[in-house]
Symmetry: C3
Subunit: 282 residues, 3 copies
Amino acid sequence: MLKKDEIRRAVRQAIDDVRRTNPMAPSITNTVTINLVANVQLAIGGSAAMVYMPDEGEAISAAGGATYINMGTILSIYTETLARTARALHKMKKPWVLDPVGIGLGSIRMNALKDFKDFPPSIVRGNASEIIALANLWGLETNVDDAGVRGVDSTDTVESARRAAVSLARFIGGAVAVSGATDLVTDGAAVVTVSGGSKFMPMITGAGCSLGGAMAIYACCATPFIAALTSTMMFDFAGRAAEDSDATHGPGSFQVNFLDELYRAGAAEVADMNISVEEAER
Amino acid sequence: MLKKDEIRRAVRQAIDDVRRTNPMAPSITNTVTINLVANVQLAIGGSAAMVYMPDEGEAISAAGGATYINMGTILSIYTETLARTARALHKMKKPWVLDPVGIGLGSIRMNALKDFKDFPPSIVRGNASEIIALANLWGLETNVDDAGVRGVDSTDTVESARRAAVSLARFIGGAVAVSGATDLVTDGAAVVTVSGGSKFMPMITGAGCSLGGAMAIYACCATPFIAALTSTMMFDFAGRAAEDSDATHGPGSFQVNFLDELYRAGAAEVADMNISVEEAER
Amino acid sequence: MLKKDEIRRAVRQAIDDVRRTNPMAPSITNTVTINLVANVQLAIGGSAAMVYMPDEGEAISAAGGATYINMGTILSIYTETLARTARALHKMKKPWVLDPVGIGLGSIRMNALKDFKDFPPSIVRGNASEIIALANLWGLETNVDDAGVRGVDSTDTVESARRAAVSLARFIGGAVAVSGATDLVTDGAAVVTVSGGSKFMPMITGAGCSLGGAMAIYACCATPFIAALTSTMMFDFAGRAAEDSDATHGPGSFQVNFLDELYRAGAAEVADMNISVEEAER
């Protein structure tokens, strides 16, 4: 298990490396927040490219450093695109981030999520209800039933998803990030919790989606665990800074200032945020 | 017919109820303005979820309080999605809002709009040309021919669509809202007109679409008539406030400040706006 | 070849004509930046309408003054939509703008781009790598191999694409615009270079896409060459002004202020920007 100061060093390194190398992370993501995902990826120093077609999913994943798959809106062609892209990523041993938003809804999404068990992502990001639902779908230990997802909203607390997150992280051999008032990131060994963000985060669409997109950018330069944590800390830092800005008067100006703060955030300041590191229970 | 002070009370109640209960209104909506629709729905206190697939349209409509269907961009799968979702809503007797944007264009859109006559929405929102065209398509009395829609723009005045709006509202047993320089909302008995908004409204894409999305949120907590009117008054109020803001210098800053003003608007102030209430002609 | 003062007069005229006549330019464009494309088209005084279906592509192109086709995200239906729309535009002799973003990726995009050789656009806009790749795909003289496109980013300099741009412009009998630190616009006879813009341009998604969308708006009122140049100069002017604004602190506020500056920019000031006009080599 990484020590707190090792974690801070790695987070700082990830932020700097992305800004220095401008890595490209392609996405298959929903049409609601696709623009914000791309703008966040650019604001933190990365490059974005979004596709829908199966051959494009395979080809762009080969060209990118890490891929982001967000299930928010499903198109008919996804029966083919998602399976082929996940398979290609698995074969290439390239990292990818899964955001299982909308889990429980629709046959294409559910079939794809089931299939991903055989070609697992390096990072899973979701709210508490989504993480619990995915762990249950894959038959992992969660100690809790699906509370049910309401549209794209969580009805569970982050803490109630701790067991599911740890089980998922161990199963995929990567990292899991649970978003909420306090955020939790685990690689199955360590459980890190971070606070921050803003009351406006749930009042803009795509805060979660773009957090996942940022994880894919950091995963081009860092381990899944550090990528998930760096993105989470960066969002908590920039969200707090944007809410505190004199120019923020509501969700509209918050989103604008949030993008600015992602761009301006000092790597050292983000890495030095208050975090709690615990050992995951066996 | 509701009296003016009853209307004001109900509008204020709708604004407060949405902010208190955070109702979820799913949408099938166009990809151009889908992000603004969701952000407006969140800014007024609601929750958003967007889908394209037929089984998802049915399932999410069952989970939501009211559904928004906007025809702005058509996908191939919509031949199935729109019909199945409208049918499901009809069977569940759940309210839904139709925005017939693009009426006249393309066979999938036109077939769906024709079919909706048998599974009618609770609220229709559009510009004058769209409302006239839909009433004519359904063979209702309008006293005016289609002037033709230019892309997504109106070539008719709001007043010229009064007869069509009243006919449509009576036919669907709900409410119709016609957007323009002065906005008109009718339930077939009363005709309310409201002024406000901003010269910048037609210079941002999605002012109309997000108005319809807000109607679906308010329709989770209020009658179709009050939902349509509350949304219209809220937009006229926040649009005026955003234009008057010192921070607004053009359409870019207007959109940002508009979202802020939707979030900040006092329920009482919106409900007390200047409105005109007339009895609809027989 | 137009003289510099004739060019300035024509640019000023194009800006004024668009603001006076509010021309409608439909688009088939990617879902990542579709909202920004529409908002830019509205901010400069035009009207936007976006479609995906084949019959809608044909019908809306007939209704619009010029059409914008951007290949950023491909849908299955595009096998039919792109070919039928390009054919219809060719038959109607209506101007259209092609943005071959993503060239090299996926069979649908590549087949469509090959087919466009027989129904060529009036304007091609892209970064240097995209312009070189399209000219090579069509077997035109470029003096340089494809350096390869990285996702949506260029790995070539604008100057290295000069030959390809001139060849392409001559082949299509229209204009080609190459975007970069210095922008280049040619009609095959004259080569105009303009500087300006902002370091933030590559940090927001859709700067290039919306530049192409603006070209389609200006092409409703001006020749392809003047439309491509007006749009380029307008972007360089507004980008510089937005970066210089006291209200710009990062990519989020830059995008907001950029839209404001497009709306506010004086036609005479834009037309009087520093440009260089050279004769293209034979």
